[in-house]
Symmetry: C2
Subunit: 398 residues, 2 copies
């Protein structure tokens, strides 16, 4: 593969590369590059948002490079030294070992174990000792550290920044020195820290690492970043059905974003899919392909197909069209009886036809089968009503 | 001695005590207190300015307390990690040992060796290790550190503060924890750092140290702080004659300041001396007593007396009056012959008397005996001229 092609694959989805010319130079040497990425040593429970970065690592591996999967256990074994966070108690070495094992199990669904070294920074950071920490701290100025967006904001907002927080970016940078990283991949929020690594390597007389930042993946809502706390995530250990169903729920626009950042299909293939949609293919069917690819990655191809079939079974058969007619009905005291509502909306020819269809189980309100023919739509309510397979209407009662 | 009397002696010359009630409480326990003071590990070449603090330590010893003479070798063995200072290369353990020995030789002229422990902070600071340094750094916020006067000024002036500089006050504070200091004595410029020690001790559940700051001694000029670089200092290893002579050169006002901060005479004795001057005693004679006391401290009583005698010999007999007449003479090409100048200034009756006096060795220019009767004062020059013991004039040639 030519360097230009390699570069194009590496650039896919990346937010920024600093500096592309340096990366070109490194690639041109034809030696496997050392690609560093750092991970929290706490118990991993990865979601698709995390895999954006891991996918990038995999792409490097496909190009023949070596991934240094760094577990930041040094800080993990300190915990939160301010004692303010209950969620960051110090980890024991045994916990770190277990968490590393759990990482392996999860990331090796994406990464090639033969081109992955799992490394722990406690090894070289503990070696620094008190004096080494002073020397490391001397490498950066307070003013420069306060330029980091979050520090600058907290400082100007009068919120406390403990001094050790200034040391963490330096430690992360020192990891790059210790690992002789050629490239460090991180989220856009990590850019400052990744640049510290460049600087420290330069100070050590090394060729500085190329910094590659990946965007933060939007969650299912398409707006906020994917995160557990916002409950807009897809965990990579979720069941095939959950994973597939959640992927189907994303908007068509977000689907293309997910294709770019989560799919392993080539950019050419993605272009082909886009063209198919332009030519009239149902985007939902393309979304199926995304869902199947991702479920297959974390489970199996058979389970992916099963998840698709079960989804079609459960949802598509009862899927509601986006553009259904809407009727505003005049309710009375006690609402409006359902058969009358169906008639008024023109969904049935008569109230008795409505009653018969209800008895046959052919009427659904908001996707739920309605069997009570005496049911009344309450005044002020709104409901999606389905009769048979194809007749839909949104009914509002005023 | 009552606690009130002890407190009064401790307060003598002190700039500030934080907090006096706590010190009272500590004194009231009747146990020897642990008095900490920190010193630079570089080669000591102490001047009287340094001894202000050491004198205070001695006063504590006289009250039965124990001095922890801390040599900050941890940082000394790092040197200047920014590599910017050529004057702060890292010290070897051997150099630290030698410097400590040199400290002992110098300070034991003031301190009681039986009540002095010389301690080195590398012992406990190295033990902290990388993780301990992080935990220590977590004890303070950036904002709080930037409140320190010099940091705040440098930060607002846009001057670089390296991050390790934030760690040094914490290390100094940790020394107080490790030493279980009851009191820390330091210069006024150290107040911030001494308070860090209080805070860390409190965080460790210890009774916080009392902070006692001593003023910075003015140099011989009476205005700027005594320092080598300003050349307004008296080194404690200077010869008896130099030391005595320099002390004689200070103003009467500064003399009282030196009495307060450098003399071991009691406050009552000092009050007596002041009264004598009010009653008409020549302040110069009081200054002699100061000079003799200090020379005796660093040399011997006999040498002190010798220095005084030699001073009187060399300077007092030939001392120049402050208010001598001044003559502006008209020079010619090649200046003005000295005998003519003496005549023109009315210092001799005739040029031949001038020549005779020069031959007798009775004429001095700027204190130097003039033996060359053919000497001419150059145009544009200015000289203090002395004829015999009492005739003085300042001669300017234009």
């Amino acid at each position: 593969m030519s360097i230009t092609d390699s570069l194009e694959r590496i650039q896919r989805g990346a937010e920024e590369i600093l500096l592309p010319e340096e990366l070109k130079k490194k690639l041109a040497r034809g030696r496997p590059l050392r690609i560093k990425a750092g991970f929290d040593p706490t118990a991993p429970d990865l979601h698709l948002g995390h895999t954006v970065l891991i996918n990038k690592l995999r792409q490097f591996q496909e190009l023949g490079h070596e991934v240094l999967f760094l577990i930041g256990d040094f800080t993990g074994m300190i915990g939160d030294p301010t004692g303010k966070s209950h969620t960051r108690p110090p980890l024991t070495p045994e916990q770190v070992r277990q968490n590393a094992q759990s990482y392996r199990e999860q990331v090796f669904k994406i990464l090639d174990p033969d081109r992955t070294q799992v490394v722990f920074n406690s090894q070289w950071v503990n070696e620094l000792g008190s004096a080494g920490m002073i020397q490391l701290a001397a490498r950066h100025t307070v003013a420069r550290m306060l330029e980091r967006d979050d520090f600058s904001k907290r400082y100007s907002d009068g919120k406390a920044i403990a001094i050790h927080e200034f040391l963490y970016p330096l430690i992360q940078g020192w990891d790059s020195v210790a690992l002789k990283a050629d490239v460090e991949v991180g989220g856009t929020d990590q850019k400052f820290n990744l640049l510290v690594g460049r600087r420290l390597q330069e100070q050590e007389g090394m060729e500085p690492q190329v910094v590659l930042t990946m965007p933060i993946l939007e969650g299912l809502d398409g707006v906020q970043k994917m995160s557990k706390s916002l409950d807009n995530y897809i965990g990579i250990t979720e069941s095939p059905e959950e994973m597939f169903g959640k992927l189907m729920s994303v908007s068509d626009e977000l689907m293309w974003r997910y294709f770019e950042l989560l799919s392993f299909r080539s950019l050419a293939e993605l272009e082909g899919l886009r063209q198919q949609v332009v030519d009239g293919r149902n985007p939902r069917d393309v979304k199926f392909e995304l869902g199947e690819e991702l479920v297959a990655r974390f489970h199996s191809a058979a389970q992916a197909e099963g998840a698709r079939r079960s989804f079609v079974e459960r949802f598509q058969k009862g899927a509601m069209p986006d553009d259904m007619p809407e009727y505003v009905l005049d309710g009375q005291e006690g609402g409006i009886p359902i058969a009358n509502a169906l008639k008024a909306a023109g969904m049935v020819g008569s109230t008795s036809e409505g009653i018969r269809l209800i008895q046959q189980g052919a009427v659904r309100l908001d996707g739920e089968k309605l069997l009570d023919r005496a049911f009344s739509l309450p005044a002020g309510g709104e409901v999606v009503c389905q009769v048979g397979k194809r007749r839909f209407a949104r009914l509002k009662v005023r």
